[in-house]
């Protein structure tokens, strides 16, 4: 889950990382005016959205006095960036910058260790620096078993050839960032740019934090401190009401999974699984020219009621003509239970299973029992001799007929 800039900065601030003067988020132009008056000098106002390209879109503006700040805040608060409405506007003091740096901590999935990354060329895309100026970038992995020790950050910063007071100050900041990463289940903690002012002090000008979803249970305290709702998901785009209902179906019953519902604008509803099978089947539908109405994942032997509710939700979506029920060969999900759930869902939606279910392709455990049920209701099904790709093709063909 990505943090807003102001949340990232609040987190960094708790660990003593210096922030620009003022640094408060305002919800209205009047609030922005008050913050600007407190700062009593030139300010920068930044839209709080979970989307890149803020500067280009006009989400970052400057002001020299409180009235200008109110005006700028009004513009920013009304501006949607890539479909995201701003959560507020961050108002901060503006100061002349001598140099920009980059410091970040993330996971190295190959080394399976956290890695710190530092560069004395901040403010730009770090991957670009790595490609074009490899001498200006330094990396250091650190152990997850050994307590973090400051020398690790010192080695990182020294890696680009820095020394003197700058080395000491920057090492302290990098060490704090590594400890934040470690303590809060983060997948990314980044300060870019990290600015040095003319007086030799350093500030976090912009910060990014990503927290792993699976760590959120153990991070309730800090999330509360930062004012983040424990239920907030923050995908790349805000969830639709269809997706929210999908999540409710999954949460209502602990038996198995019928979730990760994502809305698309096609006419073929999908009840598919599991993780890898869903990806494979979604590709297959599209390859055949089909138009999925949704993505989802069922698995882990979901109960009859869970599959039933998911089916009803998908059928209730405007424009859905038929559904395709497909999975890879299943081991722990029972074919008969999925069959019962789907048929029940179709009937409870006031529809005929034989008409609404374009194809049922779930081979595997308890398949004979499942196939009997499907036969009884006249639903077209296939066993493992029909590939996932072919089954998807049959479903798409029925939509065109």
């Amino acid at each position: 889950m990505r943090f807003y800039e102001f949340e990232s900065k609040r987190l960094f601030g708790k660990y003593g990382i210096p922030l620009p003067k003022g640094s408060k988020v305002a919800a209205t132009p009047a609030e922005a005016k008050v913050v600007a008056a407190e700062i009593n000098g030139p300010v920068v106002l930044k839209s709080q959205v979970l989307s890149g390209g803020r500067m280009k879109a006009g989400g970052v503006l400057f002001a020299d006095n409180p009235d200008q700040a109110a005006e700028a805040a009004k513009k920013i608060l009304a501006l949607e960036i890539n479909g995201h409405k701003p959560r507020g506007v961050l108002v901060e003091a503006r100061a002349p910058i001598a140099q920009e740096y980059y410091v970040g901590v993330t996971w190295d999935g190959v080394a399976r260790m956290p890695v710190m990354i530092f560069s004395d060329m901040g403010g730009i895309d770090i991957e670009e620096v790595a490609e074009k100026h490899p001498g200006h970038i330094s990396k250091r992995h650190f152990s997850t078993l050994m307590p973090f020790s400051d020398f690790m950050a010192k080695e990182l910063v020294a890696g680009v050839g820095l020394s003197g007071d700058h080395l000491n100050r920057l090492s302290r900041l990098a060490a704090s960032l590594a400890r934040i990463f470690q303590a809060h289940g983060l997948t990314l903690a980044e300060i870019n740019p990290l600015a040095r002012l003319d007086d030799g002090t350093f500030f976090c000008l912009d910060g990014h934090v990503d927290m792993e979803d699976d760590a959120r249970d153990t991070q309730k305290g800090i999330l509360k401190d930062l004012g983040i709702d424990p239920e907030e998901k923050r995908q790349a785009r805000p969830p639709t009401s269809f997706e929210i209902k999908g999540a409710q179906v999954d949460a209502a019953d602990p038996r198995g999974v019928a979730g990760n519902v994502v809305e698309f604008d096609g006419d073929l509803g999908l009840v598919i699984g599991a993780g890898g099978g869903s990806l494979t089947l979604f590709d297959a539908i599209r390859k055949h020219g089909g138009k999925p109405a949704n993505y989802c994942e069922i698995g882990g032997n979901p109960s009859v009621s869970k599959t039933c509710e998911l089916t009803k939700l998908i059928l209730s979506k405007p424009g859905v003509k038929k559904i395709a029920v497909m999975m890879n060969v299943v081991s722990n999900t029972r074919v008969d239970i999925v069959a019962r759930g789907v048929i029940k869902g179709v009937i409870e939606s006031g529809q005929k299973p034989s008409e609404k279910i374009a194809i049922f392709r779930i081979p595997g455990s308890w398949e004979q029992e499942g196939f009997k049920i499907l036969e009884h209701y006249g639903v077209e099904y296939c066993d493992r001799t029909v590939s996932m790709f072919e089954a998807a093709g049959r479903a798409v063909a029925k939509m065109k007929a």
């Binding site: 999935g109 190959v110 399976r112 997850t144 785009r237 993780g275 890898g276 081991s331 455990s365």
Partner: protein, 302 residues
């Protein structure tokens, strides 16, 4: 032969009295696996289908040799269970539990490395060596596993547990058996990647080709491509890439926890290009896999 497990491999199941673990015990026993004990703290003295239950791992290792452990405890207790097995001298650990925080997984992997042990998973279905044994839920009930898996010469590795069975079933239907199938897990940080397991398949004389299932996200496929080129692997590899639609939707999460397109290198298009550059064949559809295996081994009569 096979890799990682044979019919003589002895293992324990941690969290054996949980509902899913009880089913898994039955499946593994029926398939011929040698389960020498189970661990559930506070349940010592009971048994699950004749498998004695103990309170600690050491109570079992003190009595008998234990090659491996399947860890099927809830996420909050997984790290502790894995540490217990590692410190008890167990060298092969299959973690089936999902939703373990990444930091904890990294800690387990780091300790395993220090102890000279191997972790498979987390968030995986385990290992199956056809005709030998299965360690984990892969393939389900023995009767179902026997339908989908057959003994042979293809090594299988997959980031998806379900797709492991689907691919093996397709190979079996085409008369191509498997040496060992490994469900390596769907998380961003896992104990054993494709490249980690390749040397084992290389060393296994029975294995003649490799089939893998790939997804968007992470650098595992790039790591494999690098391995294949640098080590001049003798094994032809056939890869199936799922989730191609995700290339158009960066930042959205589908499938497993490890599948999220964050940068250019995470896309399926980029992965396919890297794999192909390393001489790995890409199967457009699952049903194309058997033909590609035969073609790469010169068994297609051409």
């Amino acid at each position: 032969m096979s890799i990682l497990i044979t019919k003589d491999t002895t293992f324990i199941i941690q969290g054996i009295t949980g509902r899913e673990a009880v089913n898994m015990s039955r499946e593994c026993l029926d398939y011929g696996s040698k389960i020498v004990g189970g661990v559930t703290p506070g349940r010592g003295g009971r048994d699950v289908y004749g498998i004695p239950v103990y309170d600690t791992v050491r109570q079992i290792t003190a009595k008998t040799h234990v090659d491996g452990a399947v860890v099927a405890v809830p996420p909050a207790f997984t790290r502790d269970a894995v540490f217990e097995a590692l410190e008890g001298g167990v060298k092969l650990i299959v973690i089936v539990t999902e939703r373990i925080p990444r930091y904890e997984v990294a800690q387990m992997v780091e300790l395993a490395k220090m102890r000279g042990a191997r972790i498979i998973g987390p968030n995986c279905l385990g290992i199956l060596s056809p005709g030998e044994a299965k360690m984990g839920g892969l393939g389900g009930r023995a009767v179902d596993a026997k339908k989908a898996f057959s003994k042979g010469y293809v090594g299988v590795m997959s980031r998806s547990g379900g797709m492991t069975t689907e691919m093996c079933n397709t190979l079996t239907a085409a008369g191509i058996g498997q040496s060992t199938a490994v469900s390596i897990g769907g998380d961003a940080i896992i104990g054993s990647t494709y490249a980690d397991l390749m040397p084992l398949f290389e060393a296994d004389q029975e294995t003649k080709a490799i089939v893998i299932y790939c997804e968007p996200g992470g650098r595992m496929e790039a790591e494999l491509a690098k391995y294949v080129v640098e080590q001049k692997s003798r094994l032809p590899i056939i890869a199936f890439m799922a989730g191609r639609f995700m290339d158009e939707m960066p930042g959205m999460r589908f499938g497993h926890a490890g599948t999220i397109v964050e940068g250019k290198a995470d896309t399926t298009a980029e992965k396919i290009a890297r794999l192909e550059a390393a001489g790995i064949s890409i199967a457009e559809r699952i049903e194309d896999i058997p033909g590609l295996v035969k073609k790469r081994l010169g068994m297609d009569g051409k």
